[in-house]
């Protein structure tokens, strides 16, 4: 494999992930698949007074998926739900000081996982939030993989 250019902060979160694991009694669990590389992300939350009181994550994915989710959980822990749902992959990536280009999609996975958890939380308390609903995993498979060679006949 190519050695990826992860910065120190990403490596630090990868080595010592914050909030990894599951919650004993989660209020909601969101699980999403990564449409690009096929990985999986799970985010569990506990909510109190409209705030994310506690949060955990598990991922079947690369170092970037682990680091971005670790950072995301730090960012949104204690946040009001309405603010947490507005956190974007770009915010997470910036807090981490950037990611290798090919690894940007992993931060999307983290944010989608959180949105899914929020969706199920709202659903549980009787609020329908179709905008937060997790997408079908198989949609858009491999959508942003760049192809830079065009084959022409061989001579």
């Amino acid at each position: 494999m190519d050695r990826l250019e992860y910065n120190d902060m990403v490596l630090e979160h990868f080595k010592n992930p914050r909030n990894a694991g599951t919650l004993e009694e989660a209020d909601a669990i969101g699980q999403v698949g990564n449409p690009v590389c096929g990985d999986m992300m799970e985010i569990s939350i506990n909510v109190k007074d409209d705030r994310i009181e506690d949060i955990r994550f598990r991922t079947f994915g690369c170092a970037s998926a682990i680091a971005t989710t670790s950072m995301l959980t730090e960012v949104v822990k204690g946040m009001r739900l309405e603010d947490a749902e507005k956190v974007t992959w770009d915010d997470v990536m910036k807090s981490l000081g950037g990611l290798p280009k090919i690894k940007v999609h992993c931060s999307l996975l983290a944010v989608d996982g959180l949105k899914a958890a929020l969706y199920y939380y709202y659903k549980k308390v009787g609020v329908d939030r179709p905008d937060l609903k997790p997408k079908d995993e198989d949609e858009d498979h491999h959508h942003d993989v760049e192809v830079n060679i065009q084959d022409s006949p061989l001579v």
């Binding site: 694991g21 699980q31 590389c37 096929g38 598990r58 079947f60 690369c62 170092a63 090919i102 006949p153």
Partner: protein, 387 residues
């Protein structure tokens, strides 16, 4: 530091480096020169050609020097196809082939050729019976590796050579990973074209060779001053070629010992690592290259595993999608019928002769901790366990 990624690069043997230096510093001339400076390089180069021939039982004049395996494969396929009989428009390759073969095949498919993907079984071994059904008198060329570079399974080359002979098609074999550790006899094996890489013989990078059986008609890919019997123009990389020759000589002389050493290390690895719960060997259990050990661990992802190993000073490879440039899981593992998430957790260990037992033991020590840490973080782990 423990280096277990021979398939990415090998160290160059110190003895070989000494010879290379001599040809860079003292005998730096151009072998084509008529004056005195040309003669030592010319002799060095011809000695190297003989040594490489001896390693695979070829005549020196059947060896063409190139810049490495990629160029050799390009020359093998693109150089021979223009001369095959009219009407032969099929080229057979497989999922276990070198990346260059697959890349050329996809370009050939755009040039009117029909590319046949020979099917492999769960061990990554080409299915001969199925191959027999698709190879015929419309086939121009069959390209196979001696063994899968990724999972190490040795291919049924005898049967495939027989198929090539019966159908009248050319047989190209990729010998890159095999030549330093397996006795090869191109004449007996019925091979028409064979690719070799210097670095895989523990020689310098940037040099390779193509074996072209006497009588096989070829067209050059690189045209110019007509070097290498007109098949590969460009002033020769003499120091590199001499290094490759020296490396080939050492491979031949020490083959027995090297094989024994590698087999010992591989058995130690498999005893130590396959003890980890939820681990499986990829590739054929016995019929495989001595230096290859490919294992997968359920529920975890390869890039994370690789990075944690790297932090422990150990370098290995993986077939995980996350670590590849195009974010696709290993073609070889998928073609063996492994589902995506299983291919994800694969770890490829390729040994070189300089590896030691202590290095193997270090990996065996740290691996269980890495696997359990990553499993603790995997949503697939207790999901399957608990359900």
């Amino acid at each position: 530091m423990v280096y277990f990624d021979a398939s990415s690069a090998m160290p160059t043997r110190p003895e070989v480096i000494d010879e290379i230096v001599q040809y860079m510093r003292d005998d730096f001339g151009n072998p084509a020169s008529i004056h005195g400076w040309g003669s030592a390089p010319k002799r060095g180069m011809e000695r190297a050609r003989e040594e490489i021939g001896k390693l695979i039982n070829a005549m020196p004049e059947e060896i063409i020097f190139t810049s490495g395996a990629t160029e050799s494969i390009n020359l093998a396929l693109r150089g021979s196809l223009p001369h095959t009989e009219k009407g032969r428009m099929k080229v057979a390759t497989s999922a276990v082939d070198h990346r260059s073969v697959r890349a050329i095949a996809s370009a050939l498919a755009n040039s009117g050729y029909e590319v046949i993907d020979l099917e492999v079984d769960i061990y990554g071994v080409i299915d001969v019976e199925k191959a027999d059904r698709v190879i015929g008198d419309d086939t121009a060329l069959i390209s196979i590796p001696y063994a899968s570079p990724e999972v190490g399974s040795i291919q049924p080359y005898k049967e495939l050579a027989e198929l090539a002979r019966r159908s009248g098609s050319l047989l190209h074999m990729d010998l890159t990973m095999a030549a330093f550790q397996e006795p090869i006899d191109v004449a007996r094996m019925g091979i028409d074209l064979a690719t070799l890489s210097s670095n895989d013989l523990l020689g310098p990078k940037g040099v390779g060779a193509l074996y072209v059986r006497r009588g096989v008609k070829m067209t050059p890919v690189l045209r110019g001053g007509g070097h290498e019997r007109g098949l590969r123009s460009g002033s020769e990389n003499v120091a590199g070629i001499v290094g490759m020759g020296a490396a080939a000589r050492i491979c031949r002389e020490r083959m027995g010992g090297v094989r024994k050493h590698l087999l010992g290390l591989r058995d130690r690895l498999s005893r130590g690592l396959l003890q980890i719960e939820g681990s499986h060997l990829n590739g054929h259990p016995t019929h495989r290259l001595p230096n290859n050990f490919n294992i997968r661990f359920d529920y975890i992802e390869g890039e994370s595993m690789l990075m944690l190993l790297d932090m422990n000073g150990i370098g290995v490879g993986t077939g995980s999608a996350c670590s590849s440039k195009n974010l696709e899981a290993s073609h070889t593992l998928l073609s063996m019928g492994l589902p995506h998430e299983k291919a994800h957790g694969s770890m490829q260990i390729t040994l070189n002769p300089l590896n030691t037992e202590e290095e193997v033991d270090h990996l065996i020590d740290v691996m269980p901790g890495i696997v359990s840490d990553l499993r603790a973080m995997s949503p697939l782990y207790n999901k399957e366990e608990g359900a």
